[in-house]
Structures are given as C-alpha cells and as structure tokens.
C-alpha cells in the first residue's frame, strides 16, 4: 500500500495504479478522455492534469498528468489547485475550438462524456470567431454512424479497435488538428467488436445506427438489467425502451463476465424484438388457418384439453429461461418433459456439464480467461460461436510478455510503453479448428484438421502432459511434435486454459479437452476448462434435465402422448423436417409458445405470444455456470407475456395443484431451486421482489425521464397508474431509491455529473474490478479440486478422406448462424449468403472455381450452393454455414456428396 496526499489529506492506496485511477476510486471528480480502465494510460488528451508538489514545503508545484503518474508512496498532489483547474478548463477550450455545436442534434447528448467533462471543467464561453474544421463522414456499415466533425482526437477508438480488439481497418489519418479516424475507404467495419466504439468514443463520432432509427435520449429510456440471449456466454446488458419499443442494448458492466465490452451480435441483435415476425396476439387454428383469438378463450380451451390429461409432453428450449422450462416440466410432469435439443446435441451438452461438475478443472469466467497465460482452443471457432471469448483471449496472450516488461519496471497501466516493449510477442495460444479463425493472427500455432484429428491432437497433448492419460495410436510425427510443444507451453504456464465446445458435434473433441484439463489440474490448481455452450440457457437446461428431442418424437410415435407443448423452439432447426412433420401429424393438440412466428409455430394449433428477453423476467445459466437474472424493461403490449406466465395460466386453467400458489417470478425461482438440486443457488442471482432500499423500489428510468403523462394523453388525459411489477424489486417509473442497488438490479449507470457510461467508475469497488457488493450472477458449478475420475479413451482412427464424399462440417458466422439475431435487419444484412467451402486442393479436384455452383447431396436431399475456396481447410472437409443452410436438421458433421452442377 502507498500513502499519498490529495489536497492535504492523506489516503492509503494501491501503488500499482496511476494517480488518475486511484483518485477516481477515492471519489474525486477528475476529468479524462484518453484514459480508459481497460485500455490504460497514454497521456494524449492532457485533461486529467493535477498539481504535484515535491514535499510539504513546495508551494509552487508543477502540473502533471495524473494518468501518467504512478500512485507511489509519498506522492503529493492537488486536484483543486487553481492552476490545475484553469489548465483543465483550457484543455476543454482547446477541444471546443474544433467541436461543432451539435448537442441538440447529436445522438450522444445526454450520455456524452465530453458534455460531462466540459461542465465539470467550468469552461463555458467561446472566445474565438474562427470557423471550425469539418470532415466528410464515411459509410461504415449498418451498425455504426460516423460523424467526424465531433472528434476530439482522443485516439480511444483506434487504440481500442486496433490494440485491444485486434482490428485492422480503422486507423488515424493525416495529423495535427485534422487527424481523421476512419477506414482507408468507406466500407463495413470488419471487426465483430466494432459496436463497442459507441461506448468507447467519449463524444458522438461513433453512434448506434440502429438506435438512430428510433432515437431516444438516455434519460428518456426505461431500462432494466438484462442478459444477452444470442450465445451461451450471458453477457450483462442494459435494455432500453420507450413508447413500447425496445430501442437499444448497451453494455452493462459485469466485472466477472463481459467487463466493458459486448460483441456486435449481442449489441445489435435486439431488433428481432421489434420484428414484423413477432407473434403479438394469441392464435388458434380455425378452418385450417391460424386466427387471432381472445387470450382467455384460448386459455380456457387449453385448460380443458390439459385437465387430467397424462398424454401431454412438453418440449423445452435452451433459449428459454429456467423458470419457463421448469413451469413446462411442472405442467407435463418430469417424465414427460423434454429439453428440445437434438439427441446428439443433448448428449454432448450433458457430457460437457458432467465434466464441469466433476472437475477438477475450473470453469472460468470471461474475466479469468483474460488472465490465462497459455491457452489451447480445441475445435471451437470462438469468434463466431462465443465471440466475447475471443476478445478475452486477445488479452490473454499479453500475459506472459507483460511479465517480461514488468522486469523493465514499466507499470502495466502505462499502456503504450508496455506495448512498445512487448512488440509483437504473444503468449502461447494454440488453435485447432477446421477453418481459419480471426484469432489466428495472435496464435502461436494453428492446426487445421477434421474433428477426429483435432480430438486426437487433444488426446496427444493430454498424454504428453501425463503419461497416465491414454496415448494416441498412429500419430504422425508432425502432430506428435505439435502436441509436445503445446503440452510444454501449458505445463509451464501459471494459469493454463483449455477452450472447447460442441460446435463440431464431436464427443471425441470434448473428451480430449477434458483429458487435457484433467492432466493440467494434476499439477496446477489454476487449470481452466471453458466449454462454449450454443445458446443462452443450454447449461441451465442441462442442469434441469429432461429427455432429448428424439425421445420426444419416439414418445409420440409410440402412441404414449397425443398433445405437445413446445416452448420457444423451432423444431425444424433441430431435427429433420420429416420427423417434425410426423410429430405434428401424430398429435391431436399442439401448442407453441414463442416470440417469432417460426416455421414450427406457423403449423401449430395454438400459438401463444411469448415475451422476448426485454419483456420478460427469468434466469439463464451461462457456459461458465453462472446463473444470472434478467428483468423486463417494459410491459409488452397486446397478449405478450413471459412464457412461464402463460404456462402458469395453463396450469391454473387445467387445475394443477402446485400452480395454485405460483403467481410471480419469485415463486417459480424458489420452486425451481427447491426441486432441482444443481439449481439450488439460483435464488441468490438477484434479490427477490420484496427487496427495498429506504422503502423504495429501484427505478427503471432516470429521474429526468420525461413525458410520462403526455405519452398517453391521446388515450386518456388523466395520468394512469404506472404498471405494477410483482416480479421484481424494480419499478416501472423514475421514482424510487437513488442509492446504488445491488449490481444484479442496476438498470443503468448514472451519477451526478456523470451522465455517460463512464459513471460505472462510481459503482466499482476497484475500477476495472468488481462492482460494489459483487458482480451480478452466482456460480453454480465449483467442483472440488481434488476430483479424481478417469481419463476418456482416445479415438483410434485418424480422419480418412473419402474419394467421392466430403465430410460436411458446420462453419459458424457471428452474423447469421444464431436464430434470433438473424431477424434483426442490420444483422441479416451482414450475414453471408449460403455457400459451401472447399479447400484449394479440393476445389481443384472438383475442377471448380470460386462462385461456381455445386450440388450437395445429404441424406437424400440435395441443394445447389456456390463454392467458396478457403485455402486452409483440410482435404476432404467441406464447410457449410451453420444456421444459413438448411441441411434438414441432419446433424452436421455428416458425409455428403459434392458434385459439379
């Protein structure tokens, strides 16, 4: 610890940080621009100036930049010093010389860091008559808007984009006071993390283009703490609504999970909630057509159908909340509840869950992944299947090189000095995938191979780490040497990590990952094993239990059930069309609850409009095993309500005894926790609806929220009562407690004078650390680190190329492979068109070039697809974009014939 003096008072602080960070943590309102908690200090903007004194006798002092000064023992500074204040105001004045008077028309206004710092500095009068420099803006794609006139040249955008996120197409151009931040030419920004520029840019240069379509000021939004539904990582988000539409998603700081950043799929995929495909009314089939019906009528009818009926099955979903799945299970009975995942998928997910529960390797959070110092990625293209992991892995490769720069006494927060000393050095990161990945540029080694070969590499690594792990027969010298190299790197690391998942639908790959983790855990308490999960609640559903989709089909086929209730699941995405059609023909009654009119829903007898994430409350368990609660941002219109609420309605209408006492979210959370031992702790994910602070609920809107009465004046002139929220401790209002609530209940970050997202500083116990009171969510899986258990056995045969067939493997796309986000127009625009990928050699073998049409025949179905040549793809492997090409749910990987058209 170090003792420092600030304005003649002494404080004990950590000496490992800069003065700026330490002062912010102490609560001082020091302005800054170019510093960012995740990016460190570079000293460009000069905004954070303070006066430093040599000792108590030094009365003159000198101005220093607090972001560039270490908080070492004995440091004396003054924040209030008049010279420092004048200087800080002068820096703002300097910025204002080129800054347009755009506030009234600028999207950033109201959550603008530049506005906040300007007010904080006291500068408020323009002294110059000269014209301001202007720029031409660029088209950067459908996600981000570009308005360069507003730029204050803080360099945050290019530092984040290039240095933190590894992007290459955003750069500074020209120089002096006309430095331009953009692309070399107009075009869609290539990084899938570009959206974070919206929050990184302290002013309005980069803003959310989707928000612009339905723009709302931050203070006018009604917000709630939510969880992203577009992959299994469960990043914390803040969902904002006005006039009944979801307007935008912002990152919600979670020190353990996403930190300060989201991926673009999570940030911009929300527009599916406003899609034309939304189901908003209750539907039932009359005369062969789906027609809207009054909700009560449908519930009554269903009540009759379900009353005392033991021939009902429920098909749940890994994208539905725990509560919704549990309610369905309660409605139909444990034995008649199915998890809605394909047989293969369900098996793999259960396998991964079991491995994590047994341990001993720890399932790390996204933050812990950043600190890993040697990583092996087995079979998972994380940039596309679990994007935020890729961002964490980019930081992980800095760990070992930074240990070297520590020896040069360069503080880690002195960002550019560290990067200069590190140069292009990276720590060990090995990636084994069939296709090239966007992390290859920071990898130490890559292995492009078929799933079985990837598994064999993994097994070989485990064997090299621990001879008790099974050896791999017929291993080539190259692969053996690579395995030994990887093993050496992992063994000598302090926090080694294995990342894997079910994307390649390969049990062997998962077994291999488990073996490596087990071998590492023998030596190291800090060995990590991270499995990517396909959907928002995959792991939660696995912990809940239930048979798989195939078993559901069988149950119906065998005549054991004639009514099916399908929860938030488009079966055509998970099974061959024939099997789904057969199910539908075999049942007498069919109910679908979903947000979108999917192909499954459109064929249903009843369709009940389910709330989307921003319209619902519930719990998801992410791939780490963290249970997180998400809350409604607004009460949805029409008949939309949470799926679990629908199911409660049906249970009550059909006379279920249990449901009599289940009315609100808390009831279901407790019931789920009570009935399912692995989910016991989900009650701790957030305070109950009874939680109050100073007798008040937590307001969903900032206190400056406007128009509450005027909004509805066209319907009724007198002010209506705001909707009640029996499900949470949040209020649909701006009235409520101003005190910092527990992190899981924070709808947005705001603090007096800090209207922008920088206000997060005020809510952390340590900047870039945990939120005060702890980060949201509760870990459900923490196995004993002494777990023994056996190694899995290795696949015997290497992958063999077949003369007339190709092994089709799924290739994932951050835009397009995921079901819900694909309904967002901007995301759909960025999704690739269907294709089949072949290696250069295979394309030559087939005598086709890029763009040529080929016929892909799989399981009796054939379709024509254009060829994309991917140089590094292994021979005998063909890639199909997951989620974009229907392979009739055949379940990839699968052998198919590929012929010239």
């Amino acid at each position: 610890m170090a003792n420092i003096w600030v304005d003649d008072k002494t404080y004990e602080v950590s000496p490992d940080q800069s003065l700026l960070q330490v002062c912010l943590e102490l609560g001082f309102d020091l302005p800054y621009f170019c510093w960012h908690p995740a990016l460190g200090s570079v000293g460009a903007c000069r905004q954070c100036a303070v006066k430093q004194f040599k000792d108590e006798n030094d009365t003159k002092g000198r101005i220093v930049m607090s972001c560039m000064t270490p908080a070492s023992d004995g440091t004396r500074i003054s924040v209030k010093d008049s010279d420092a204040e004048a200087f800080r105001a002068g820096v703002i004045e300097g910025l204002m010389l080129s800054h347009p008077h755009d506030c009234p028309v600028c999207d950033e206004g109201g959550e603008c860091h530049l506005q906040d710092m300007t007010v904080m500095s006291g500068h408020n009068y323009r002294r110059t008559p000269y014209p301001k420099r202007t720029f031409r803006n660029q088209y950067l794609g459908p996600l981000l808007n570009h308005e360069m006139n507003r730029c204050i040249q803080c360099y945050r955008c290019v530092r984040y984009y290039r240095e933190y996120a590894g992007g290459t197409d955003l750069a500074p151009f020209a120089s002096r006071n006309i430095t331009y931040f953009g692309r070399q030419e107009d075009g869609i920004l290539e990084s899938e993390f570009a959206g974070n520029l919206v929050e990184i840019c302290p002013t309005g240069v980069f803003t959310d283009k989707t928000l612009k379509q339905h723009y709302t000021r931050k203070w006018d939004l009604q917000m709630a703490p939510s969880v992203c539904v577009h992959c299994g990582l469960g990043c914390s988000t803040s969902a904002g609504e006005r006039y009944g539409t979801l307007r935008r998603i912002l990152n919600r700081y979670n020190g353990e999970v996403n930190g300060y950043f989201l991926c673009d799929r999570g940030r911009f995929g929300y527009e599916f909630v406003n899609s034309e495909q939304r189901v908003r009314e209750t539907h039932s089939r009359q005369d062969g057509k789906l027609k809207t019906v009054p909700k009560e009528k449908a519930v009554e009818q269903l009540g009759d159908i379900l009353k005392g009926n033991s021939r009902v099955i429920g098909i749940g979903s890994p994208r539905a909340s725990l509560e919704s799945n549990f309610a369905l299970r309660s409605l139909v009975g444990v034995d008649r509840f199915f998890n809605g995942m394909s047989e293969k998928s369900s098996h793999l997910v259960s396998l991964m869950t079991e491995i994590l529960r047994q341990g001993p390797a720890r399932s790390p959070s996204l933050r812990e992944i950043e600190y890993s110092d040697a990583v092996l990625v087995l079979g998972e293209d994380v940039n596309n299947t679990a994007p935020r992991v890729a961002l964490s892995l980019r930081q992980s490769v800095r760990q070992q090189p930074m240990e070297k720069t520590d020896k040069l006494k360069i503080p880690r927060w002195l960002d550019h000095a560290v990067r200069e000393a590190v140069q292009h050095d990276t720590g060990p990161l090995f990636i084994a995938t069939p296709n090239a990945t966007r992390l290859d540029d920071v990898s130490t080694g890559t292995y492009r191979a078929a799933p079985d070969d990837i598994a064999r590499l993994g097994f070989a690594v485990a064997h090299a780490l621990d001879s008790e792990a099974p050896a791999v027969p017929d291993l080539s010298d190259d692969v053996r040497r690579m395995a030994e190299r990887i093993a050496r790197a992992l063994k000598s690391a302090k926090r080694p990590l294995v990342v894997s998942g079910s994307s390649l639908a390969s049990e062997a790959v998962i077994h291999a990952a488990a073996n490596v983790a087990r071998a590492l855990a023998k030596d190291s308490k800090s060995a990590g094993l991270s499995f990517a999960m396909p959907e928002a609640n995959t792991l939660g559903l696995a912990l809940l239990g239930g048979g798989n989709l195939n078993e559901a089909f069988k149950t119906v086929q065998e005549g054991k059930a004639d009514t099916v209730i399908i929860l938030e699941n488009d079966l055509y995405r998970r099974a061959p069309a024939e099997a789904v059609d057969n199910l539908m023909q075999a049942v007498r009654h069919m109910v679908v609850l979903d947000q979108l009119m999917t192909p499954t829903a459109s064929k249903s007898e009843f369709v009940l409009p389910a709330g989307a994430f921003a319209e619902s409350d519930g719990t998801f368990v992410n791939n780490e095993g963290r249970a997180q609660r998400f809350f409604q941002a607004y009460v949805p219109k029409d008949d939309i309500q949470e799926s679990w609420r629908w199911l409660l309605d049906l249970m009550k209408a059909s006379g279920h005894a249990e449901a009599a006492s289940w009315n609100v979210l808390d009831d279901l959370v407790s019931a789920t926790a009570g009935a399912v031992p692995p989910l016991e702790k989900i009650t701790e994910a957030a305070p109950s609806s009874k939680f109050r602070m100073l007798n008040e609920k937590v307001p969903r809107s900032p206190h400056r929220y406007s128009g509450r009465t005027a909004m509805l004046a066209n319907i009724k002139v007198s002010e209506p009562k705001p909707p009640q929220d029996p499900d949470s401790a949040l209020a649909f209002s701006m009235e409520g407690t101003p005190t910092q609530p527990p992190s899981s209940l924070m709808p947005f970050f705001w603090s007096p004078g800090w209207n922008s997202i920088q206000s997060v500083n005020k809510f952390q116990s340590e900047i870039n650390g945990a939120l005060r009171g702890g980060d949201p969510g509760v870990r459900l899986i923490d196995p004993p680190q002494t777990g023994s258990g056996l190694y899995f056995s290795a696949p015997q045969r290497p992958f063999e190329v077949r003369p007339d067939e190709w092994l089709l493997v799924p290739l994932y796309h951050v835009f397009g492979s995921e079901e819900l986000s694909s309904q967002a127009p901007a995301v759909a625009q960025l999704a690739p068109k269907p294709y089949v990928a072949l290696s250069t050699a295979d394309a030559e073998r087939l005598q086709v070039q890029e763009g040529a049409q080929v016929e892909v025949k799989l399981a009796g179905n054939s379709q024509k697809l254009p060829v994309v040549v991917q140089a590094g793809l292994p021979k005998g492997i063909a890639g199909i974009p997951a989620g974009l090409v229907s392979v009739e749910g055949a379940g990839l990987p699968a052998w198919a014939s590929v012929t010239r058209s």
């Binding site: 197409d169 750069a171 020209a174 120089s175 692309r183 070399q184």
Partner: protein, 154 residues
C-alpha cells in the same frame, strides 16, 4: 502489381530491420520514386509484400510530408516557406511562381509539367530563399534565377 524492379528494391531492404513491417515508409518511397505518387492500388500491393494492413499504410502515408497520395506532375517544386526563407523573400518567390505557372500552391499545371508545393525548412538557410525541384536543390533564388531553373525541367 509491383514491377520487378520495385519488388526487388523493396526486398533488398528487408534485412535492414528485424521486422519487414518497419519498411512502410521505405517501400512507399520506392514506389513513389518509380511512379511519382502512391495510389490506392499501390497501397494494396505494398500491403501484400510487407504484410501490413492497407489502413495502417495509409495512416502512415498521410502523416508524412514527402509521400504523395495524389498524382503529381512530372516535376515537383518544393518551395521552402519557413522563417529564414520568409525573411529573405519567400512571399515574392511564391507569388512569382504561382503567377508564372498559373496555379495555386498545392496544384499541378494543366500540362502536367509542374506540381507546386510548400515545404518546411530545407536546411540551407544561409542561402535563402531556396527550393527543390525533384531531387535538385536550388538556392540563393531570385525571380530571374527561378525562371531559368524552371526551363531545365521539361
């Protein structure tokens, strides 16, 4: 496409640095020597041979005074506009050049013969005012001298 000469010249520099990515300026100058300026296409070619993204190359190119990202005339006139040359008569020299050539500073003559640009101190202040035309330094200038100097450059 880089010409074989350009490629050879660039590759000859590879050994000068531990990392060929440091050759951004050197490579762009080599291409500029052959073509007069650095086009968008040239950036793409250089990007390939050095393994540096195009945006980074352009970021570097637009920072430096001597790399031209717009086409120039057959001859580039760089007139020093810094302090000693200014004291010794830059304004008159500039006015003479702009009227003689019929163009403003920063422009190229219609016949593509000369591009006229200001440049910062050429480091020959005891012989001010001075200018460079292509690689030639001309100093102790006055308006007559300038006229006869320009004659040399077709």
């Amino acid at each position: 496409m880089l010409s074989p000469e350009e490629r050879q010249e660039i590759e000859a520099e590879f050994g000068n640095y531990p990392d060929k990515r440091a050759l951004t300026i050197d490579a762009m100058k080599i291409v500029q020597k052959h073509r007069g300026w650095v086009s968008d296409d040239a950036l793409k070619d250089i990007s390939e041979i050095l393994g540096v993204p195009v945006s980074e190359l352009d970021s570097v190119a637009t920072f430096y005074n001597l790399i031209y990202r717009k086409p120039v005339g057959r001859h580039v006139i760089l007139v020093c506009d810094s302090i000693s040359c200014w004291v010794m008569g830059y304004d008159r020299l500039r006015d003479h050049l702009t009227s003689r050539l019929g163009i403003k500073m920063g422009e190229t003559t219609a016949d593509g013969r000369f591009t006229l640009l200001p440049i910062v101190c050429l480091g020959t202040c005891d012989h001010a005012p001075a200018m460079m035309v292509d690689e030639d330094l001309h100093r102790d200038l006055d308006t007559e001298k300038v006229d006869s100097i320009l004659e040399q450059y077709k």
